[in-house]
């Protein structure tokens, strides 16, 4: 008979407790809030799925969701190809490898609120380096606090600056793991550079790219700090993405019920898209 070690459960227990306290219990609290109305004083009134219904029919939510998808779509469309291109251009051996890797990792090491503050100062029309250059040297009318287009270009540029490195590092890791023999075989088979990319590098990078896209999707879909510091959601509501809107509802208006319902829907969308994407990408893997 197979021996069973019931004691092993004790070793799993700390993790269970940890997960319970940092995920399950807060999540259940949110669920609790999402089906009730509260005015403080610990008074709760049963509300059912009312908040969910209202939210799903609200124009404000649709607009924020639309902006969120637009933002995530734009940064993915820029960061993924750009990251792969940079990774392809990086040296594979020699002293420059470490130099490149450190340079690439730098933006990721900067705290989010600092990134927001940096870009805020960087783009100030009269004293910021970029702002001054655009307005006074190139003569472009650029003011993030007045023009939604300028605000959007700035948040996109900031995210690309902050996070393309992640795609670069992951793609690079995928690239260097390709054995030399593949390149040599391709050379002997007379493959063009494009064919090498299409039939060797891209397929071999598929897994890391899947992870990169997933991470960038989740992170950008949940982005809050940088944009909050940089634009605060403005001008108007033009850069109010989901998370910024959520905080406005929860902390600005103190509507805890609707905010909780929104959190759950927000979470469900992130989960659903991630799951769909991962399943689709991995369906042909053995």
């Amino acid at each position: 008979m197979k021996p069973s070690y019931q004691k092993a459960w004790f070793f799993v227990l700390p993790v269970l407790v940890l997960v319970a306290f940092n995920a399950l219990i807060p999540m259940m609290t949110v669920v609790n809030y999402s089906v009730q109305e509260t005015f403080g004083n610990n008074l709760f009134f049963w509300q059912g799925v009312d908040w969910f219904e209202k939210l799903l029919n609200s124009d404000r939510f649709h607009a924020a969701l639309g902006r969120q998808f637009l933002f995530t779509g734009i940064i993915l469309a820029i960061e993924i190809p750009l990251g792969v291109a940079i990774a392809l251009a990086m040296p594979r051996k020699g002293v420059w490898v470490s130099v490149c890797l450190v340079l690439m990792a730098l933006p990721m090491l900067i705290p989010w609120n600092v990134v927001g503050a940096m870009w805020n100062i960087f783009t100030l029309p009269d004293i910021g380096l970029l702002g001054y250059f655009l307005n006074h040297v190139l003569g472009v009318d650029y003011n993030m606090t007045q023009s939604p287009l300028a605000a959007w270009m700035t948040i996109v540029a900031m995210d690309v600056w902050h996070w393309t490195s992640l795609v670069v590092l992951l793609s690079y890791a995928g690239l260097v793991s390709i054995p030399d023999a593949y390149y040599q075989a391709a050379k002997i088979d007379g493959a063009s550079n494009w064919a090498v990319f299409r039939y060797i590098q891209l397929p071999k990078m598929k897994r890391v790219l899947t992870i990169a896209i997933l991470l960038r999707f989740m992170d950008s879909f949940n982005i809050y700090t940088e944009i909050f510091v940089l634009t605060g959601g403005g001008p108007g509501n033009s850069t109010t993405l989901l998370s910024i809107d959520l905080v406005k509802i929860a902390l600005g208006q103190f509507d805890l019920g609707p905010a909780a319902a929104m959190s759950l829907i927000y979470f469900a969308i992130t989960l659903l898209v991630s799951w769909l994407f991962y399943t689709l990408m991995m369906r042909n893997e053995t």
């Binding site: 023999a181 593949y182 040599q184 050379k187 002997i188 088979d189 007379g190 064919a195 039939y199 397929p203």
Partner: protein
Amino acid sequence: MAKITLSKLRHSYYPNPKGPEDFALRDIDLDWRDGGAYALLGPSGCGKSTLLNIISGLLMPTEGRILFDDKDVTAHSPVERNIAQVFQFPVIYDTMTVYDNLAFPLRNRQMDEVMVKSRVHEIAEMLEVDDMLSKRAAGLSPDNKQKISMGRGLVRKDVNVVMFDEPLTVIDPHLKWKLRSKLKELHQKVRATMIYVTHDQTEALTFADQVVVMQDGDIVQIGTPVELFERPTHTFVGHFIGSPGMNLLPCEIRGGGAYFNDARIALEGPLISGGRGKNQVGIRPEFVSFGKKGLEARVKKVADVGRHYVVEAIIGDTSINAIVEQDAPEQGEKVHLNFAQSHTRVYRDGWIATQLPEAGR
């Protein structure tokens, strides 16, 4: 197809090589006959893969030239040289089907689709993979993947040489034998020059007409499998080929004769005079027998390896292996060893120092 000439090749992986120890290839002069089946045999790190990559054009030699049919191709790329190479680990294009994999080298050379089709089917049939042409290559077993890699090498009709770099490393033992005979068969069919790199003597001896044995960046002997076995010109070859390898006994040279433990050893022919260094008597275990008279030894170990017995006898602190078909002595028994004269030679500093009787006359 072409005759391949390597002329005064030297290669170093260091930017400024100084002594001979910096060179992975020291001084290679070699002709590969058109249509021959060659094996490049040697231990890991002896430079055989380096030599292969230089022939294929993946590496540029530090010194020397490579000629295909007397035309200098040293500066040519692998594509220009029109060669094929199969690597240790199967290289297949994961996202393509088996058919597309085989067609890839042809399509890259803008061959007409009708021709591609007939060529791919021909090769697939030869390799017995025609039933999996529409399958995705990623899902194949390692031996089939390696077959596809070979197929990509053979699919072009006009390749100058097909090179195999230890292609059976990842193949299961029972399939190794099958794939090896398949290769031999393919060589007879396509008649392309083939170079097979391996550290496995069985693979080399079964595949090749000519075996090139390498050690430390030098070629030590080139010959047919029989020549390598019967008359190794270097102790390395004697030791590397054969199981167990050649026996080497320390000896003294006095008055034109070789003495081991003060017993004169009869040699195949006269000694080559001149040259100093360590002298050794070399004889293969297959040519050592037991008799009533001869060198007195004690049996240390007897191993039954199936077809025959390997007897390890000991004289002083020198052990000598003998292979006998039957009537193996017992462990601890006292025996008399006889050496077949025609296969007993002296090696000086590793190199053969006896002449064949005809040559000596």
